[in-house]
Symmetry: C2
Subunit: 574 residues, 2 copies
């Protein structure tokens, strides 16, 4: 007999049980109440707190959010009063019978069954703990709960002076920054070649520089091999043998869906993440799932992967409640584009959509453009450089991803590009966006418009660009034409490159033709503006020419300042 | 014989003449050079400067942009060097023969003809000077050119103490602010009932308050009737007889297309603005037009009106060059959505798309939602209130317009909404936008997502709202239910309203039913959050209920603080 009921009658209210009282789960519960005043809505939370500000945890560790109670957005009491929700903390779901529609719930008082009509799973994710000896030391902690944040804060309050943060993803970087701001000596260890691994190398370089400017000892391309506990402090030993003393160690190397009990109950999963349809329905009738534990489909590549972001979780929770209580009329849950942002000192780094690696994995052909405009009108005080990157599809120009790093205006551009990406815009459509312009805020040609102009020119062949990864071949096979000024050139340039300042190029074409001697000409300038102009001139004069995307700024960032100056860049200072 | 040629041969380069060397005209010239190295490109500018930062002029007057040379983005010399453009300042076009493809150009040296193959008209707009006696006083100036800005700045430098700015549109407000920052005593006179007339009343109220906080003597609903020049100062007499002394007077009551010579030559115009097709082509073959002088079609209402914004002008200039040099393959010029922004003290005010008046003029039925979230996570330091308004179409929810005012994050939300509007999104699509979230930047449910959630609920009837303009009828016919706390209520409330704090409502429904006695129930709270929840509860319990859009914050702003507290609001302080 089918027992799922999607309407509540006066005599027999529907019972909706939500497992997990943060973000997605709580959004589902709140929306359910707004749609159905009489439903019985029970929220089961394993931890001591519901509806807490997950994303604020690092800022409590460092004291930027002074009072931990600020992180508790709601309490069971306030949720009862405002929304008549039955919120039960300290309730751990250890079993599920989808046939009998019953959960097994463990509390301090023992184990009890709980019947449901509709079940929403929002169990979230647990911190990954790699098999490194010594990670069970009392000085090691992950950062997933309010208790974690309070404990780490206490370590700092009690006089910890040296911290090691393992993992330079978003939470690791935030935690390292906030501890450094508090005056601790901080080492930040990352296995990838640069911090914030989803960023492209050339975009992450300013972030690495900013972390170092903050006094953080950044160690990339390495990992913790062992933690050696000691009486006064622990020692973190890295792969390369380096030993770092630590009064506190924050482990932040990723999360995995916390779904064992549900997978055991037969809920279909893929690598531990719950598989759902576009309405959040799992493989079991009457069971929905949302949040970090779900294998979402990436909006750009279609790849299935968990997305550990509060925004998509909240919105999915709301739509799941719609599907439970208004079956047939709920809008589908959108595929996340995965917009992410982090503050690093005075910088902001953010991205939306796919990066190079995920596009290559998905076999999608794409172009990339780089630019370095100011965040607002250059002539208005306070303008700061904004590093911007765009990936778009070969052929039709569909937007695929964007990244930005800078001091001002990063969040705005990434949010606009996330919106354009969600709308399915092509790169040329960015030219047409009417962004708000007054000198303190932007440009008559906003960086987003400019990115569209450059991208559209690349797409239709008006502009041909070359990239840092082609450098070796370019140096071997082409004439490198540097169109900057003499003084810029003298500050450092590629070996064998020919200097012809852009404004002299029209008069000196014969010289360039002689020097090229039939080879391709690969043009560069500081940021790509002048080399794009030079390319247009050369291309119309019959040269096989291309312009370096993002200029020397992007090239230096892609190669690392050290590499470029040591081995590739001919220095002729003074 | 057809003489228009759209390709340049070696023997006979195409001559492109651009009239007007700012924004749209200069963009057309620069793009033309990038597309055609051999074309002859001549730019004729009546004034002394080309490519200057129009939008920066007010900030030079007040000294925020210290050096006027900062406003000169390009010079004829730099344009010659970089782009091989033939830029001629002091060249005024006084005649056009579209048959002979010849312009008549006046310079200090006399008058001469100039042949063209393709002509781009970008003459811009002149300041409107109303028929008010005394506006020819030497102390009165408009603000359209670098010379104007320099002259006004000089007045301030020479000790002007009292300024009157006539017109509180965007430029008037910027000028008043910058003069007040410089220490002048400033009066700002506006005929409309509030500053920044395109804003809705309830959005303009915080702007008016901020102008007053800056010490500006704001006079709305009145106009200058006369300027009486005197030896030491002028006197501006307003409609109501008030006389204001002024050492300098800035006239900023609007602009009109500067097209007389072209209209006389037979170029089709509408109320002085040049009519173009989607590629910028005028009624005469071989003649294009862009910028403030063109009658653009509004992206939302389809109404034809000049749009005096640099961004759309620049982009149209680029597309006109494409149409001249790549006929048949140029993208159409997008209809402007008219995104506009202004800084006012510590506030930013911005809008995109249509406002209430233009929607009513166009006969488009719409809903409006108001909300007052924080710009970023409430629990993270520095969160500021953001006032946000959205108009969307009845029936399908198509976005029509948005306005925002606040201290932080205004430009970002308006740019996202402008992008959504350009993409043709509906209000529910805003829920799905993946905006970048970390506590310093936004919310897991961004204000834009929230606006979408509220709007979608209004659209499908889940939420029913009432608005300030219904207040008289509501007071007469409904039970006003105030669901704030006792202390909020005691600070001021609507006469006859019943206080039932939201958290007590479930228990006190019988009381409300008795008080309503069959009348509709109109709920309100501070900002709309609690009243929306209360509405859902009441509606499900069978009440004829509705929630005040934007709560008391919006109501107070719509009515004006004074009105509400004097006559409508029952004060029971202490």
């Amino acid at each position: 007999m089918e027992t799922t009921r999607n309407t509540t009658t006066e005599s027999e209210p529907m019972r909706i049980v939500v497992v997990g009282g943060v973000a997605g789960g709580m959004s589902a519960a709140a929306r359910a109440r707004r749609l159905d005043e009489r439903a019985e809505i029970i929220v089961l939370e394993r931890g001591a707190h519901v509806s807490f500000a997950n994303c604020g945890l690092p800022y409590h560790v460092g004291g930027e959010i002074e009072d931990a109670s600020e992180l508790l957005l709601r309490t069971p009491e306030s949720l009862r009063a405002a929304l008549n929700l039955d919120v039960r903390t300290g309730h751990d779901v250890i079993g599920l019978d989808t046939e009998a529609k019953t959960l097994t719930v463990r509390t301090d008082a023992g184990t009890e069954p709980l019947r449901y009509d509709a079940l929403v799973l929002s169990p979230g994710a647990r911190a990954v703990v790699p098999p490194v000896p010594g990670l069970d030391s009392a000085r090691v902690r992950t950062l997933r709960t309010v208790e974690d944040a309070v404990a780490l804060r206490r370590s700092a309050d009690l006089g910890a002076e040296k911290a090691v943060v393992i993992g330079a993803g978003f939470i690791g970087v935030e935690t390292a920054e906030t501890l450094a701001n508090r005056g601790l000596s901080v080492s930040l260890v990352e296995l990838a070649p640069h911090p914030l691994p989803p960023l492209e190398t050339e975009m992450a370089q300013p972030v690495a520089a900013e972390l170092r400017r903050l006094g953080i000892d950044l160690r990339t391309g390495t990992a913790a091999a062992e933690v050696r506990p000691g009486p006064d402090h622990d020692v973190v030993v890295l792969n390369d043998g380096t030993a770092i003393e630590a009064d506190m160690i924050v482990l932040s190397v990723g999360v995995r869906p916390d779904t064992e009990a549900f997978e055991r109950a037969g809920i279909a999963c893929e690598r531990g993440a719950i598989i759902t349809d576009e309405h959040g329905r799992t493989s079991a009738p009457g069971v929905w799932a949302v949040g970090d534990a779900v294998a979402s489909r990436d909006a750009v590549t279609g790849a299935r992967r968990p997305v550990a972001l509060a925004g998509p979780a909240n919105r999915a929770g709301r739509l799941v409640a719609d599907d439970i209580l208004r079956p047939g009329s709920a809008r589908p849950i959108p595929r996340p584009v995965g917009t992410t942002i982090v503050r690093v000192g005075d910088l902001t780094a953010a991205f939306t959509g796919a990066n190079r690696a995920s596009l290559e994995d998905a076999g999608i052909g794409f172009h990339t453009v780089h630019l370095h405009p100011k965040d607002h009108a250059d002539y208005f005080p306070g303008a700061e450089t904004l590093h911007l990157l765009l990936h778009f599809r070969e052929g039709d120009g569909l937007l695929l991803g964007a990244q930005a790093v800078g001091r001002e205006g990063v969040d705005k551009r990434i949010d606009v590009l996330a919106t354009a990406l969600r709308a399915g815009m092509g790169v040329a459509d960015l030219i047409d966006l009417d962004m708000a312009y007054a000198p303190p805020y932007g440009h008559a040609k906003d960086p987003v418009n400019l990115a569209g102009m450059i991208g559209a020119d690349v797409l239709d062949g008006t502009l041909r660009s070359w990239h840092a990864e082609e450098l070796d071949r370019v140096l071997a096979e082409a004439l490198v034409l540097d169109v900057r000024t003499r003084s810029e050139y003298d500050e450092g340039h590629l070996p064998g490159s020919m200097l012809v300042p852009h404004v002299e190029l029209r008069e000196r074409l014969d010289e360039v033709r002689a020097a090229a001697a039939g080879r391709p000409v690969r043009v560069l300038c500081a940021s790509g503006v002048r080399s794009n102009l030079a390319h247009r001139l050369l291309a119309q004069e019959g040269f096989d020419s291309a312009s370096l995307s993002g200029g020397m700024r992007t090239l230096r960032a892609a190669l690392g300042d050290g590499v470029l100056s040591r081995s590739t860049l001919a220095e002729r200072r003074g």
